[in-house]
């Protein structure tokens, strides 16, 4: 028993190894789950994975590096349009190649925009990224011959490989791709956050002057955070293109950018797990509310707007009940539980604070 325990301890001692184990576990669980659920649930699982990738990138930028971006929907659009344009001329390109090129193209735009962003603070940064979200879809409309205008570009589905059998649902295949992409993204980001650049991100967020005095190149750190974040958005956008089968300006409106912000705040700002919780909320709450609205018979003027109203209400209540998001609430519950078990009254309060990721404002 003792020997087993210590071996297990050693196995998880290294950060990389621990993250690898968690990632592997998550991948296996999701794989098994995807095989149990129906095609439409696979389709929604894909959506969760896509939003989780984008939200994880955004939480790195906003939650851990303190740069607010209202333009991540536009960065997703760059990934999505890259994918669509690639597939328009080369239908047979393997998914992995398409995803990587999309990541690089969004990353390159991220470098350019990151330099501008590193010079801006607070509302000015929000304003600049907002410009991106508002302006970029117009580019697609202006250069209609390339980007297909309002109707956008259709994206051929990625057919499951032959060895899975002819009846294998394409939705499940796409879910596998998206889940794999999400798990790899999470793994890379989790390791990054536990390394020197990750600590530099947080140092810059908490106090730029102190970070600079400690020898951190503040501007470079901010650009790096922006580029990584943009690359994640590009990956999410590429998956999004496969998922919806259409890349059009309306799919990447300002509201998408705001939804991503909502997801990371609801989930728990600054934690990767929070990004996942937020994505689950983002995908499933509208599904539930629209089902609810159509099951009660109301005048259409009310019923059509009810899902949005319920969604808004849930957000308000969630923020009142759990100001540090779902992940913050979970941590608190766990900490209280631990304190009860160890009979250290008051100790629960201590558990609220994650030493690595102190929630902003605390």
């Amino acid at each position: 028993m003792v020997a087993v325990r210590s071996r297990a301890d050693r196995l998880v001692a290294s950060t990389l190894r621990r993250h690898l184990l968690i990632a592997l576990g998550a991948a296996v669980v999701l794989l098994l789950l995807s095989a149990q659920i129906g095609a439409y649930d696979d389709y929604n699982l894909t959506a969760v994975a896509i939003f989780a990738v984008a939200a994880a990138g955004l939480t790195l930028l906003t939650g851990l590096n303190g740069q607010l971006s209202l333009g991540h929907g536009a960065l997703m659009a760059i990934g999505a349009y890259t994918t669509s344009l690639l597939l328009k001329d080369h239908r047979q390109l393997p998914v992995i190649v398409v995803l990587l090129i999309s990541v690089v193209s969004a990353g390159v735009i991220g470098i350019a925009f990151g330099y501008a962003a590193a010079r801006l603070r607070g509302p000015y940064l929000a304003g600049a990224t907002l410009t991106l979200a508002v302006a970029l879809p117009q580019v697609a409309t202006r250069y209609k011959s390339i980007f297909g205008g309002e109707s956008g570009l259709t994206v051929p589905p990625s057919a499951p490989p032959d060895w899975l059998g002819a009846d294998f649902p394409p939705e499940r295949w796409l879910a596998w791709i998206a889940v794999a992409a999400a798990v790899v993204t999470m793994l890379l980001l989790a390791n990054l956050l536990r390394s020197a650049p990750g600590r530099a991100f947080k140092a810059v967020r908490d106090n730029e002057a102190a970070a600079a005095l400690a020898g951190i190149d503040v501007a470079r750190t901010q650009v790096l955070a922006f580029v990584i974040s943009a690359a994640c958005a590009g990956l999410a956008g590429a998956l999004f293109a496969y998922w919806s089968g259409i890349t059009s300006p309306a799919g990447f409106s300002l509201s998408l950018s705001l939804q991503l912000i909502t997801a990371i705040v609801i989930g728990g700002l600054g934690s990767l797990a929070g990004a996942v919780w937020g994505s689950i909320v983002l995908v499933f709450v509208p599904l539930l509310t629209s089902g609810l609205a159509s099951s009660v018979h109301l005048p259409s003027a009310v019923a059509d707007n009810l899902p949005l109203a319920i969604y808004g209400g849930i957000l308000v209540i969630a923020m009142l009940v759990a100001p540090h998001g779902i992940q913050g609430a979970l941590r608190r519950i766990l900490a209280i539980g631990r304190a009860r078990r160890e009979h250290t009254p008051g100790g629960g309060q201590k558990g609220v604070v994650d030493w690595d990721d102190p929630a902003p404002g605390t």
Partner: protein, 440 residues
């Protein structure tokens, strides 16, 4: 108290289920032979007692004014049919979702309809950009995609989209017939275009150019809009500057209204020629009033030229109009009686015709076959349908109509039919009248 009630209700429901199961079992055993008189669950979305169809519609958002009435009025016709015994004893269930005219939402809701709700067929899915996003997917799933609510000629593509069928005349045919009217009645006037910058507008322009000659309308007189940008002032100013005396508009109702108001504001009064989808009088009057805060209204529509492929809503002597108006008054009286309601009912009538034609227990493939091989009557339509194994075009023609200053419409000239590339010919067939009970 509540729990006791719940228990009773549960028990009653349980008994009911057992009874129904028993009945079904009895039905099944009494007619074990595969005779055509028995309903079977012959395809996804079809049970012994129901047939489920689905749609995506702009119930909110910029395309909602007017168009949001279409699905509700189709549903009213289905309720009417259901109340009269359904088709082959099956009740029609119509599930439609709001995609807000956003192609990305259409993509996800269409998958919900096919994968989760397991509808037998898509019906009346509305919008050119929205439906283009899903037409490949629907066909890859081999789901009948009936009577798309859009006149894009993209729906008539039998080799790539064998399951997709159009319904209303395609915009190119409409553009050609409007162009012919301009040549015959407004000859010598300078013509300008105002069109939605997607397949809807471009198809229409293609038809207009075929009649008017592409070179006779200079680039300065070709102005387009995108539905996400409601500021059409620059386009109207450009049309005014180009000296266009006739403006042909391929626009959705909200943008017809914006263009009319923009022109009136700068004192520009060309003759407006507006394609069918953007010219419904009731919808436009409402939009003009609301956009101008009551300052403008129906008077801006006076002199407008448009076209129709269904009887005019104000033609109370028409038997089809009195049939559909009666159903409107019984089932959806909260909606205004206008062209959109008529559209939804007429489309639903065509669907019921098609379901009848497919026989008692159709599969998805046999349904499509039947629609291609049965010569459906045009029902309320002024022109015949073009459905065959090589064409999935809906109504083949239109009749030009004019709108008076008080909003009353009257038809001008005969019904013309055409195809995308063929000549225009006068239609000689006569209008049909509805069956006595209103069900095909």
């Amino acid at each position: 108290m509540k729990s006791v009630m719940g228990g009773n209700a549960l028990r009653i429901r349980g008994i009911a289920i057992i009874c129904v199961a028993g009945l079904l079992a009895a039905c099944g055993s009494s007619t074990s032979s595969n005779d055509s008189g028995t309903n079977t669950a012959s395809a996804p979305g079809i049970t012994a007692t129901t047939i489920t169809i689905g749609s995506t519609q702009p119930l909110t958002g910029r395309a909602a004014p007017g168009y949001s009435e279409i699905s509700a009025s189709s549903n009213a016709y289905f309720q009417y049919v259901n109340a009269h015994g359904g088709i082959f004893g099956r009740q029609i269930t119509y599930t439609y979702y709001d995609d807000t005219y956003n192609p990305t939402m259409t993509a996800s809701l269409t998958r919900k309809l096919i994968l989760e709700d397991k509808v037998f067929a898509l019906f009346s899915a509305l919008g050119t950009p929205t439906h283009l996003a899903v037409v490949d997917y629907i066909n890859s799933q081999k789901v009948p995609d009936l009577f798309v609510s859009s006149g894009c000629n993209c729906w008539n593509d039998v080799s790539n989209h064998p399951y997709t069928f159009g319904w209303q005349p395609d915009y190119t045919i409409e553009g050609k017939i409007l162009g012919q009217y301009i040549n015959q009645n407004l000859g010598g006037k300078k013509v300008g275009y105002f069109y939605q910058n997607d397949e809807f507008g471009l198809d229409g322009v293609k038809g207009l150019d075929a009649q008017l000659g592409a070179s006779s309308v200079p680039d300065a007189s070709r102005q387009n809009y995108v539905p996400t940008n409601t500021n059409v002032g620059p386009q109207i100013a450009a049309l005014q500057a180009s000296g266009a005396q006739v403006v042909v508009s391929f626009s959705i109702p909200a943008f017809t209204a914006l263009a009319l108001l923009g022109a009136a504001k700068v004192g520009y009064h060309p003759i407006w020629v507006v394609s069918n989808v953007g010219s419904d009088v009731t919808t436009l009057t409402g939009l003009l009033k609301s956009f101008s805060k009551g300052a403008a209204g129906v008077q801006l529509l006076g002199g407008m030229v448009t076209d129709a492929y269904l009887p005019l809503t104000g033609d109370t002597s028409n038997k089809w109009i009195s049939l559909f108006k009666g159903i409107h008054d019984t089932y959806v009286s909260t909606l205004p009686w206008d062209g959109n309601v008529l559209y939804g009912m007429a489309q639903a009538y065509t669907l019921v015709q098609a379901i009848k034609a497919a026989g008692r227990n159709p599969t998805r493939a046999s349904f499509v076959k039947a629609l291609e091989s049965t010569k459906l009557s045009g029902g309320p339509g002024l022109a015949p349908f073009g459905f065959s194994s090589s064409s999935h075009l809906g109504y083949l023609g239109v009749q030009v109509a004019t709108i008076a200053a008080d909003g009353t419409q009257s038809t001008a000239g005969p019904v013309y039919t055409s195809s995308d590339s063929g000549p225009i010919s006068q239609y000689s067939g006569s209008a049909s009248s509805p069956p006595a009970n209103g069900i095909p």
